[in-house]
Chain length 200, copies 2
């Protein structure tokens, strides 16, 4: 390939192929699409990447990413400062924001504990979370972690650490997804939904 | 979202979502991945895009894209100058190059005739192809176009135009794909493969 399209295009394809969701074939298509739409897409994308490189930073309070630190959420006076929603990743924070589901501020762990992948407590922002939980205004920590083994291990680990902080530790409810059909749900979800049933 | 991650990240996501193969969700994942791998991926990608913007151009002979014009293939003295392989798109040229299947040089049409999409002969590089076909050294035009209605319409249109040029006009063989199972092939392919059978 390098001899056909030149090393510059080959390099662009290789870098695009490292994006999640793009393989070698779709990276070639994306590169061609960019080259064809040089003014409408490639130039704006290069600019947007450079702007993100220059401006995006990690919030020193909650580890969210934003163009300011502390981030927009941490500095938003309208958000309930007594509640901290703990998420594994910024993508989870975005998902909760799209759902408009989080009552307070956030804390991004940067992953979940995973001994197999070599991720220990020191690799996450758990110390910062414990410090925030000891702030007098904080009364509730909501663990919005994935309902996976790693996510629940992390939730238990954090709950143990927060025993001495004067906060209520809660987690997301298990249950039937909205729009979900019972016939397709696993037994664990169904029995959790039954145990945690609510008044109609 | 704009209030959460800032307009810069939102703009990056919107631009990434316009790449083929990436939807809104995967564009968000790609943006986060880029931000997390700022030095390893985002900065090199921004540089590669800028380099492509600065250097990539369309070959004035064959309409291939390259960092030089005439392109590397057009200027390659080892390639048979008597044969021109006509493809609809640069992606097809790349596919033939990966297969090492083309004996000569190329001509990229820039698409196929498609009345429904408003693509007429003037939108493609057909005039340039006819001019090249009249060059004395050219003896064969190989139409390597998709075996679709638009591709074959384009092939017929070009074949008519080349009646007066002193060239042999050929097209790719129809037949059973290598590794293909007869049971899964359509009748058109099977009967073409039978008609064009070769000595074993």
């Amino acid at each position: 390939m390098a001899s056909v399209a030149g090393p510059e295009i080959e390099r662009l394809i290789q870098l695009l192929a490292r994006l999640p969701g793009l393989g070698p074939r779709s990276a070639r298509r994306a590169a061609l699409h960019l080259i064809k739409k040089r003014d409408a897409l490639m130039t704006p994308l290069a600019g947007a990447l450079q702007l993100a490189i220059d401006r995006v930073q990690v919030c020193k309070v909650c580890s969210n990413i934003d163009t300011q630190s502390p981030c927009t959420i941490c500095t938003d006076a309208r958000r309930d400062p007594t509640t901290i929603v703990v998420v594994a990743d910024v993508a989870d924070l975005w998902a909760l924001e799209r759902a408009n589901a989080a009552p307070g501020k956030y804390h991004v762990l940067g992953g979940t504990l995973s001994p197999l992948d070599g991720v220990g407590p020191g690799d996450l922002t758990i110390d910062a979370l414990v410090a925030r939980a000891h702030e007098p205004e904080v009364t509730e920590i909501i663990l919005a972690l994935n309902a996976t083994v790693d996510g629940q291990t992390t939730a238990h680990y954090i709950t143990d650490l927060l025993q001495e902080a004067n906060v209520k530790v809660t987690r997301l409810a298990h249950g039937v997804p909205v729009g979900g059909e019972l016939d397709y749900l696993d037994e664990g979800t169904l029995s959790a939904a039954m145990r945690q049933r609510t008044l109609f």
